[in-house]
Amino acid sequence: MEHELGTIRKEALAAIQAAADTDTIEEIRIKYLGRKGALTLILRSLGNIPPEERARMGKLSNQYKNEIETAIETRTDELTREGADSLIRGQWIDVTLDCVPPVPREGLGRLHPISRIQYEIEDIFTSMGFEIHDGPETETDHYNFEALNIPKHHPARDMQDTFWTEDGNLLRTHTSAIQVRAMEKVKPPFRVVGPGRVFRYESTDASHENTFYQVEGMMVDREITVAHLIYVMKELLKEIFQRDVSVRLRPGYFPFVEPGFELDINCLICGGNGCSVCKQSGWVELLPCGLVHPNVLRMGGIDPGQWSGFAFGLGLNRLVMMKYGINDIRHFLSGDIRFLKQF
């Protein structure tokens, strides 16, 4: 009997080791350990042998049973893992293909380039403590001209050819009108900007539009100086262009500021060496600015003896055109998605 047990163990362990899949293992398990398995039958027949042998044979049988069970478990584990591996390897695909085509850039939605620059600039100003204000696009003579120190029949009105509406009002010619409305709403000290659409009675060509976008800015405090204006403009432009820019101020006449300036930046195309964009001067006229005229403060209900401020205007179309090298301002309002999809 002992010999028989030894043979069963040897055969079983060899078969387990040789099994190539889990089904075979199951067959082996049934063959040796199943209800009618070889080892089971021996265990059941233990009652028939003499008692002095029974204890030793019983112990040996159980030991072999455990050995076989352990071997089955180990081998099953091995086979399962191998099986999974090859199964997974069988799932190989060519990951470099695009079987589901990606959404092409063409198909993506996007903001109008003016909106993008406007939001960019609004964020910069907000981060510098400016509040964003608003005003109507149809304006009164008062807000667009009179309150900005441009009385009727003032030659400065020629600088801004105006669309008049049949009710005697006008389409605002500059976002400076927002300045006046802001002064009515907030008390100094304040920092405000007003972005928006403006209109000029002007025939259109590649560099002239009757409708375009500006951002007006104004800062009023106890003692605002030209030196402050230069500082804030430099910081602002550094942020807009994401690099240091040189600026220069020269006299510019706008009735609502005194003194008034034109602010030029060094030409970003040629770096100031002179090119066709800057007409060989190395400088590009970018924004008008100045210290707020005391009459304008007064009309806005602010005492110029107590407060001073600066104001400036920035043309958004110009900025976008400079940034992307756009050569025709009429693209902006054309509604042509072939243009809009480029940004």
């Binding site: 509040e131 400065a156 600088m159 509406t165 409708t211 230069i230 500082y231 006449y253 210290l291």
Partner: protein
């Protein structure tokens, strides 16, 4: 406006200053110089040369070989002109001489013979129109002399001023003004060209008088009568100066008056003394309807705001704008009245605009010229007339009516104020020096400055201390100011919540729905409105439209969006676009209050070949937008009344937010598609953004997760084709059956085996309890309830 360096040099010495430097410093301190032009620079290499010999060209009948002596060396040129002969002194342009951009003289072989330059006609030199032959110089001309020395007044540098940058400076509409600026900037002495000594030499032989009837309109009128006049062509130096300032030479007197205007800024006029009826010049407002013909032949019917110069019979000039034809000087004129006057800028501006005659004179008068300029202008003109016509003689004193004298303007400020505004430590002496260099008269008393403003700066330009700040700053140089960090309150700025809302909307449409933002004009025109069937004459009109298609303000963004569909459908088979912008509503069009501005959101989806009705596409977008914006109460309801005519009548819905109409969803009416040449299908949404902004928003509150199982129940019922599926599901929703979590329409089917005109609507009803798992009996009861509710409304299960 053009400035001539030759003219400037009479008043300020610019020796040693490069024109580029003058232009740069003027730009940085005074006014923008647009360009610099060198006039007749090539005269330096054109020499006076004496012809030594003229021979026929061996190979050409019409050409000659000319040997010349040009002083330092001899030249030979080939010449085709007919007139030159041995002994003539002629202009020889040496190789390298540039005639404009297109021609440079080169040494060349002409028909086999060497030519070392070109002989020039007067026209080629720009000296006259004569092109009949080579210019022949006087016999005493120095051989070898350069033309730049022979005609120094013809060699000049011109600066072009950006007129916009001098609208506020009447004094800068003259060479005198710029000469003063150059003096201050470069610290050089300014010298006036006016000879006041002439005043003592005037004789009083004329009975002429002047009377101003409206001093408000005409503060001053000065005149001078000059006899011994001979009208003729101006001498070359005068012609050159007139051309340098951008005008055309006419005759000696007109040229002098034009020149004086450019030189000292006072517009002048000269008329024939003999054509004056009577001895009195009357300056008055025109009578309404009074006729006048001006020098250029235009005739006007004047109104009471126009100012005229009149004699006893009527107007002889439109004051400040143009002289009258009836008093014009002619070749036979021998005695003239020189006029220099001053007029109210507003009257002149209105008159010039009214008759579209913005002459050089009007442009200057409307800038508020000083009345003190009249006498200097007369003296300067007289001096120039004497120079051109030595026989001319003044036969009157200065005839002068000056009822309202210009007031001396004095500004009080302090050096501290100037420093405080500029934010730069400029010392007292520097401030005083700058102001003095600009002709301001200063008195200083314990830091207080009392500043007398020169007459030519005080009409409008300078009146308050801020103006003085500018004067100091610009001459000091803004570039020399050190930037300074402002000390400010540090608090987060207030938010503009509507702007932020607009931005969210755009981000959702462009980001979540892949739509492209477009932007269109605020204008619309009749043609587009007609095509949409909404030409109701309700738009606010422009008084001065640029075109018929842009003659009124839009009340809706739909026209622009539909036009954009047409445009883009030519290039693309499918796209989604939207515009967010303002519309202008004015029901009483002529009343004076401002139009109401509403921000609208209009979008469109276009497909050339849609797979399913595009209506559902815009509906999905509108719903998605409302969800993202957390709008609490947004309902879409079928709409057949109050639809705009361009909307498809049975493919449209109204958007109702908080019970208020917020807009429409619709497919474009086939008729409108046809009108706009749109092949394919387009669906739009048109939403009032203000209503969305004001809408009640969902508040996010945590809800307990569903613990007990949800039990779905699907039913299909048969219904008429045109019954809205949502109306059927609504029957279940409103039946008040407890434990129903939600009802969804799963599918709608038409076709075999469903009978014609009918459809099958499948719905999924979800039952669940928050407290327990539903028992089989409970579920069965709920199912029966649903079936019964449907049955009661006549819907049997299929």
């Amino acid at each position: 406006m053009w400035l001539s360096l030759n003219i400037l040099n009479q008043m300020v010495d610019t020796a040693g200053l490069a024109p580029e430097e003058i232009a740069l410093r003027l730009t940085m301190s005074t006014a923008e110089i647009d360009s610099i032009e060198r006039v007749n620079d090539h005269f330096r290499t054109i020499l006076a040369a004496k012809i030594l010999d003229v021979r026929r060209h061996p190979n050409a009948d019409k050409l000659t070989l000319v040997d010349l002596d040009a002083g330092e060396r001899k030249y030979r040129v080939v010449c085709g002109a007919p007139n030159h002969k041995t002994g003539d002194i002629v202009p020889l342009a040496l190789p390298g001489t540039r005639f404009g951009e297109e021609m440079t003289i080169k040494k060349a072989k002409i028909r086999g013979e060497e030519s070392e330059g070109m002989l020039c006609s007067e026209r080629e030199l720009g000296l006259s129109d004569d092109h009949s032959g080579i210019m022949v110089l006087p016999a005493d001309t120095k051989i070898g002399a350069a033309f730049s020395d022979l005609f120094p007044h013809r060699v000049d540098v011109r600066f072009e001023i950006d007129n916009k940058s001098i609208t506020h400076r009447p004094d800068l509409w003259s060479h005198e003004g710029f000469a003063r600026e150059i003096g201050a900037i470069f610290n050089r002495k300014f010298t006036s060209v006016i000879d006041y000594g002439l005043l003592k030499k005037l004789k009083d032989a004329e009975p002429i008088r002047v009377r101003i009837l409206n001093p408000e309109a005409s503060p001053r009128y000065s005149g001078l009568v000059v006899a011994g006049i001979k009208i003729e062509e101006s001498p070359d130096w005068l012609k050159a100066m007139v051309e340098a300032i951008g005008m055309r030479p006419i005759n000696n007197i007109v040229d002098i008056t034009n020149y004086v205007m450019a030189e000292i800024g006072e517009p002048m006029h000269a008329f024939d003394r003999k054509k004056l009826n009577g001895d009195e010049i009357i300056v008055r407002l025109a009578d309404s309807g009074e006729p006048l013909m001006t020098l250029d032949g235009s005739t006007f019917e004047l109104i009471n705001e126009d100012i005229v110069i009149a004699d006893s019979k009527g107007p002889i000039a439109l004051a400040g704008v143009m002289g009258g034809g009836n008093s014009e000087i002619e070749d036979s004129t021998t005695e003239i009245v020189l006029e220099a006057a001053n007029f109210n800028p507003v009257n002149i501006r209105k008159t010039a605009n009214r008759y579209s005659h913005r002459t050089e004179a009007a442009i200057r008068f409307e800038k508020s010229l000083s009345p003190e300029l009249t006498v200097p202008a007369l003296l300067r003109s007289y001096a120039l007339i004497k120079k051109v016509l030595p026989g001319a003689e003044a036969v009157s004193r200065i005839i002068d009516a000056y009822p309202v004298r210009q007031k001396q303007v004095t500004v009080k400020t302090t050096a501290d104020f100037i420093r405080k505004r500029l934010g730069e430590r400029i010392d007292d002496d520097r401030i005083a020096a700058i102001l003095t260099s600009l002709d301001f008269k200063l008195k200083e008393n314990k830091g207080n400055l009392t500043i007398d403003v020169p007459y030519y700066r005080s009409t409008k330009d300078i009146s308050i201390q801020e103006d003085i700040v500018e004067e100091v700053g610009r001459i000091y140089g803004y570039d020399n100011i050190t930037p300074d960090v402002p000390l400010v309150i540090c608090a987060p700025p207030g938010k503009n919540s509507f702007r932020l809302f607009e931005r969210s909307v755009k981000t959702i449409l462009s980001g979540n729905h892949n739509m492209i933002e477009i932007s269109g004009y605020s204008f619309v025109g009749e043609e587009t409105l007609n095509k949409l069937g909404v030409n109701n004459d309700s738009e606010l009109r422009l008084r001065n439209p640029l075109s018929q298609e842009q003659d009124r303000l839009r009340r809706s963004l739909v026209p622009n969006v539909v036009n954009a569909i047409t445009l883009n459908s030519r290039h693309s088979d499918e796209f989604s676009i939207y515009e967010l912008g303002r519309v202008y509503i004015k029901d009483k069009r002529l009343s004076s209050e401002l139009a109401k501005e509403k921000t609208m959101l209009t979008g469109a989806v276009y497909r050339k070949k849609p797979a399913a009705p595009l209506f559902y596409e815009v509906k999905r977008i509108a719903r998605g937008l409302a969800e993202k914006l957390q709008i609490a109460d947004c309902r879409l309801v079928p709409e057949d009344r109050a639809l705009p005519p361009y909307a498809h009548p049975v493919r449209s819905m109204a958007i109702i937010v908080d019970g208020q109409k917020a807009g429409f969803l619709f497919e474009l009416h086939p008729e409108a598609s046809r009108e706009f040449d749109i092949t394919g299908s387009a669906a739009l949404f048109d939403i009032d953004l203000v209503v969305l902004y004001a809408a009640r928003k969902k508040e996010t509150v945590f809800t307990e997760l569903q613990k007990y199982p949800e039990v779905p129940f699907e039913v299909s019922v048969l219904a008429d084709r045109t019954v809205y599926a949502c109306d059927i599901s609504l029957i279940i929703e409103i039946a008040g059956i407890d434990m129903i979590r939600r009802v969804e329409v799963v599918s709608v089917y038409e076709g075999n085996p469903i009978p014609e005109g009918k459809k099958s609507v499948s719905m999924k009803i979800v039952f669940a309890s928050k407290e327990r798992t539903l028992s089989t009996e409970e579920i069965e009861k709920l199912q029966k309830n649903v079936i019964a509710v449907l049955g009661k409304k006549g819907y049997q299960l299929r």
